[in-house]
Subunit: 112 residues, 2 copies
DNA sequence: TTATTATATTGCAATATTACGATAAATAAT
DNA sequence: ATTATTTATCGTAATATTGCAATATAATAA
């Protein structure tokens, strides 16, 4: 036990869950926020922005990278990270779908 | 160590992270999917739908409830769960903001 | 009252995540 | 070549999550 039973769910469900999970930590939201704030897509000064040690941030960046939410290109000694719009769009589309479905139902749910 | 350093991040960042985290498991995505599928927003047959034991599902429901994504109203012996649109909207708004920001940048990011 | 049914809670084992110091690897500067 | 700079990886401790059997709770039915 303890491990998620991934194989019992659909690919779509797992895909969305992986993206959501990657965003499920304030440090990683802060990283995304920072990447959006800085105009010239930024590299390693994220370490100076966040109140976490360098290895910890490196780990969070890796998780965002694994989920496909950001990409990193090496530039000399530093790495330039930026948001992958396509993957973020995919995630957004999921919520658009949900919204559409909820609108159809017109909130005729229970007694809320 | 081991625990998330919540206090170091903004309230907004924590809010979004909590919502994302709640959706960061395929079973919980499956629950949301099911609640959307069933017209008469349904209760405990989620247990029959998902390949998980009843206590496990109860726990996942609790997490969705804690995050504010769903609400449960007692109806006799059973409980009627449904999606809370407001909270979901809040989450969606975050992505709309991101999209807008990314559009401004026009993808002039690194060499991607 | 005594089942029955539906959901929640408890307790626990297995696994995953978070965080960081120490260290490695790789490039740039001297 | 040596030294700094930047990022990644390893190892490890603390904590959290996942999943379920057993049990509790609460409302209904007999």
């Amino acid at each position: 036990m303890g491990a998620t039973k991934t194989e019992h769910f659909t690919e779509k469900q797992n895909d969305i869950a992986i993206l959501a999970k990657a965003l499920g930590h304030p440090a990683r939201i802060a990283i995304i926020d920072y990447l959006l704030k800085v105009d010239t897509c930024i590299c390693g000064d994220i370490v100076n922005e966040l109140p976490l040690a360098q290895p910890t941030i490196s780990q969070h960046l890796k998780e965002l990278k694994n989920a496909g939410l950001i990409k990193g290109t090496i530039e000399g000694t530093s790495v330039c990270y930026c948001i992958d719009e396509k993957v973020l769009e995919k995630f957004q589309n999921y919520f658009i779908k949900i919204s559409n479905r909820l609108e159809k139902k017109k909130n005729n749910c229970c007694k809320l």
